[in-house]
Amino acid sequence: MKRITTPITEATIRDLKVGDEILLNGRVVLSRDIGHKFMVEKKPEWLKPILENAVIYHCGPVVAHHEDGHWSFVSAGPTTSIREEPYQADVIETYSIRGVIGKGGMGKKTSDACARHGAVYLHATGGAGALLAERVKRVVDVKMLEEFGSPEAFWIIEVEDFPLVVTMDSHGGSLHEEVARASADRAKELMAAK
């Protein structure tokens, strides 16, 4: 299993192929529906240095706020990524992101942006919230908490050995498309049987 650490270079990304299992270390920024709409519509400058060569994670975590003011992650698995399809390509290129973590895969527009810019889609195990929260070493900061609410805020975290599968690489490959094609053929076969 490959270990990959942020900031990630384009060369590292180009080496990754569909089906590779990796362990991610370093900076990850959480963002989902409201955050993606915001990034595309408002293009905030302050987010750029935070996201450059780092990874975005589609996740709305369960967090705990401790008495001394620090935050920790209690449960933090991926949410469905396809909802960000209208925004993701733009976000990857505007903010120079090297990876997008989520579940369920994304569409052609995102895949094309991954190929152009040098980025990958990384699949986390949906529902493994407790395990993935354990791999979050530190909550570095949180932005737009008040405005978006905790599941939608930009949580900036450091992860250690975060287990992921490359399901869309930077060469146009997609495990999701392969599986979908095969299962559609099988479904057709089953439905023709009776």
Binding site: A76, T79, G126, G127, A130, T167, A182, L190
Partner: protein, 326 residues
């Protein structure tokens, strides 16, 4: 071939020891109008959000052992099972999406539904404060999060179904249904020319295969399917969710439906979607089907998809008010 062992969950005695209920607590059912279930419901939430039902765990282990050693499917099921152990150990929500909260309350004549509703809402607020639940209630258009899982009108979240019954004692079921799996649910109106489904069981079969194929890994496969045939659009969907309260290994009392469920499960597992949609033999853990009544002009097939992390639990208060969690 190596065999995946059953995850070692903390013993029930430890779970009991961490209960939010004082030792020896029981509900005072002498005057049903005054019964207070707030703490018992808080404990119900604590258990359902951190501990997967044993029958679901067993189904995941059996599926893991059916997948090829070292395959992505086997590794993914291992990750899921490791997560089950960690959530239980750390008292952490199994999944950060603690779901839409659904409750089914069955009670004898005399219980105040208004009072029980307030108690359930108070328990949900407290569980959210304790980070056992994520605040999952937002305004439909603006997206503003209320922060405590309460919808301000007291009508849409948490979802509470009440039913009066003959038997003494009170039963409350909880289901935590994540957004990802809720989004891949589907309702068909037969006949459906697009998939060649007519108004018969064969047509229903096509709807189920079509829905699971369309869902791919998006609903966090392997899924558990609740399928209601008939009803109006609301009753069909409502019933399809309630069916998911069944134990994964339970038989349908109707032998014809039982055979249909088993056949469907087997067929769905040949689709090759696999855990999280990475490919594999495990696409469905169970299929539950029920035939309802319908208007002569309508023939709905309502399908609810539950993710592998099927969080459900029941609180039972016996006639003396003693609680048990099943």
């Amino acid at each position: 071939m190596s065999v995946c062992p059953m995850p070692n969950l903390t013993p029930l005695s430890t779970v009991e020891a961490k209960s939010v209920l004082p030792k020896g607590w029981k509900a005072d059912l002498a005057d049903l109008r005054k019964v207070d279930l707030t703490l018992a419901v808080l404990e119900l939430i604590r258990r359902s959000t951190t501990r997967l039902p044993q029958d679901v765990i067993e189904a995941l282990v059996a599926s893991r052992n059916a997948e090829a050693e070292g395959s992505r499917a086997a590794n993914t099921l291992d990750t899921m099972l490791e997560n089950v152990t960690l959530a239980d150990e750390n008292l952490a929500p199994l999944c950060q999406d603690t779901g839409t909260l659904l409750f089914w309350v069955r009670h004898p004549y005399g219980v105040s539904q208004r009072a029980v509703k307030q108690q359930i809402r108070a328990a949900v607020q407290e569980a959210t404060k304790r980070s056992w639940l994520r605040p999952n209630c937002v305004a439909a258009i603006g997206g503003k999060n209320t922060g405590d899982n309460m919808d301000p009108f007291g009508e849409t979240h948490p979802v509470i179904h009440f039913e009066e019954r003959e038997e003494p004692g009170i039963e409350i079921h909880i289901m935590q249904k994540g957004g990802g799996c809720e989004n891949v649910g589907a309702q068909y109106r037969l006949p459906d020319a697009a998939i060649g489904a007519g108004r018969d069981l064969g047509g229903v079969r096509k709807c189920i295969i079509d829905a699971v194929n369309k869902a791919q890994g998006q609903g966090c496969a392997p899924g558990i399917l609740g399928v209601a045939i008939g009803g109006d659009r609301v009753v069909g969907y409502e019933r399809s969710k309630e069916l998911i309260l069944r134990k994964v290994d339970s038989a349908n009392p109707d032998p014809r439906m039982d055979a249909f469920e088993k056949q469907l499960k087997e067929e769905l597992n040949t689709l090759g979607i696999g855990p999280m949609g990475y490919g594999g033999k495990t696409t469905a853990l169970a299929v539950f089907v029920e035939e309802l009544w319908r208007h002569p002009a309508s023939f709905f097939v309502s399908i609810s998809y539950m993710c592998w992390s099927s969080r459900r639990m029941a609180l039972q208060l016996d006639a003396a008010g003693l609680p048990s969690y099943l």
